[in-house]
């Protein structure tokens, strides 16, 4: 029972990385299909559609940051694992969930929006700036989730 706290904390770190990373993989995959469709007909638009494809990839990075901060918090990266009470472990797990869940959902949604925005670039490449704003809007909610997860994990006292 005395090790359950660290288990919960590590589960939180794993979920943050896993869910957000899976969301990004799905989102980048969707946008990548659209990007491939455009490049197969017009290779000149490669750079523009590549930027669009990368947009849903940020959630995976946010998940990684929270996972990293969590591992650092419990001392796993420094070599000395701390004793984490069960209650604190559960708090860390809860703190990791916002970026995990929001990362998964927002990355998929952003992938679909990026694919639609790639359609704009395909027809009107001069509207690239405006087209990029639509998927970028979805990013807001991933950033909010990152902020909460970061503040929560950082401020939990072990």
């Amino acid at each position: 029972m005395d090790k359950l706290g660290i288990v919960y904390a590590l589960l939180g770190a794993a979920l943050a990385v896993l869910l957000a990373g899976a969301g990004s993989a799905i989102g980048v995959g969707i946008a990548g299909q659209a990007a491939s469709g455009v490049v197969s007909e017009d290779p000149g638009k490669f750079a523009k559609v590549l930027i669009m494809q990368l947009l849903p990839g940020t959630q995976g990075l946010y998940g990684l940051i929270i996972g990293f901060v969590t591992l650092s918090k419990v001392g796993l990266l420094g070599g000395g694992v701390q004793d984490v009470p069960v209650q604190t472990g559960l708090m860390i797990l809860g703190a990791c969930l916002p970026i995990g869940i929001v990362g998964l959902i927002s990355a998929r949604a952003q992938g679909k929006t990026a694919a639609a925005a790639i359609g704009i670039v395909a027809k009107k490449p001069e509207q690239f700036g405006k087209a990029m704003l639509f998927p970028a809007m979805v990013e807001t909610y991933a950033i909010l989730a990152l902020l909460i997860s970061f503040l929560a994990v950082s401020n939990i006292q072990i």
Partner: protein, 323 residues
């Protein structure tokens, strides 16, 4: 099928949509002084290829092939598009039956880009191997073949096959889970029924003939449509005015060619929202219809120029473009 499966194909279509001819390009074509200038403009727009030269039919055929090549290449599920090739498939059946029954050989009367290509269809009809045809087509083929042999009435044979084509399209629409295929099937059958009614009214055909030619659909009551056509042009317009095809009644008042143009324009209007759809098979189907519409319009302009028809006469027939 998951609509996300179409993401790649839709993105490809988005690029190709930029190359579709717009209404202003059609105006430019119309403003060309002769057929040669038209071909030059089309060549600048990427129409045809090196092998086509200035052969109009070869250019138009090549454009049709290009469209299907893209769909074959990009679409994750080609069965969705089967219904779009039904008119060609049933055309092949009609042509094969007539060729076998009349023993008159014609070149280039078959389509090869459909479920049963021309030579295969000819072989099926020659050997009376109708069971090799897909779905319920075998029964229809046998009936049309025997009717033509016994009666020598080519029009009756056409009516049997054309109605079967409409019924197949309607069935495909009902069975499809794609909204755009349902819309396409319903519009195609309803507009074909209306065209039959209009032509039958003008040529004084009987009620039996009309009922034999028309296929059932949801947006038009074929019994009332046929009865209205039998009563006269005014009754037909009155009936149409009470349906979702009310604008067709107005077009009918102007001229038959305006009505035909309205039929095609209506289909394009129905699929235009697909320009803003980034997923599903919708944009691909819309692109196919847009290309068909574009090629048909270019053919009309070129034919008009070849025969030195007045610009106004050609303009009356120019369809609205998708882009």
């Amino acid at each position: 099928m998951n609509e996300l499966e179409y993401t790649y194909a839709v993105a490809r279509i988005r690029v190709l949509e930029a190359a579709l001819l717009s209404d202003s390009v059609m105006d430019q074509l119309l403003a060309c002084k002769d057929e040669e200038q038209c071909l030059q403009l089309l060549s600048e727009k990427g129409w045809g290829d090196a092998e086509c030269g200035n052969d109009i039919e070869a250019i138009l055929k090549r454009e049709e092939e290009k469209t299907w090549e893209v769909i074959h290449d990009a679409a994750p599920d080609l069965s969705v598009f089967d219904v779009m090739s039904y008119p060609k498939l049933y055309h092949n059946l009609k042509a094969a039956i007539k060729e076998v029954c009349t023993e008159v050989k014609n070149e280039n009367i078959f389509y090869d880009d459909c479920l049963v290509p021309g030579q295969e269809m000819l072989s099926i009809v020659e050997n009376k191997a109708f069971e090799r045809l897909p779905g319920q087509m075998g029964t229809v083929a046998k009936e049309a073949y025997e009717t033509l042999l016994q009666t020598r009435d080519g029009q009756l044979c056409d009516v049997i096959v054309d109605r079967a084509a409409l019924e197949a399209i309607y069935r495909a629409g009902k069975e499809s889970t794609e909204k755009i295929i349902q819309t396409y099937a319903e519009s195609t059958v309803a507009l074909a029924d209306i065209k039959i009614a209009v032509r039958a009214q003008k040529t004084g055909k009987s009620l039996d003939f009309m009922k034999r030619a028309m296929a059932e659909c949801d947006s038009v009551n074929v019994d009332r449509l046929a009865a209205a056509a039998l009563s006269g042009a005014e009754a037909l317009r009155e009936y149409l005015a009470g349906t979702v095809y009310a604008e067709g009644a107005q077009a009918l008042e102007e001229s038959p060619s305006v009505f035909e143009r309205w039929c095609d324009n209506r289909m394009i209007e129905a699929v235009k929202p697909q320009k803003y759809n980034s997923f599903s098979a919708g944009p691909l189907v819309a692109y196919l219809l847009a290309r068909e519409n574009e090629i048909k319009t270019v053919r009309m302009i070129l034919t008009g120029k070849q025969n030195e028809f007045p610009d106004e006469m050609i303009r009356e027939r120019i369809r609205k473009m998708y882009v």
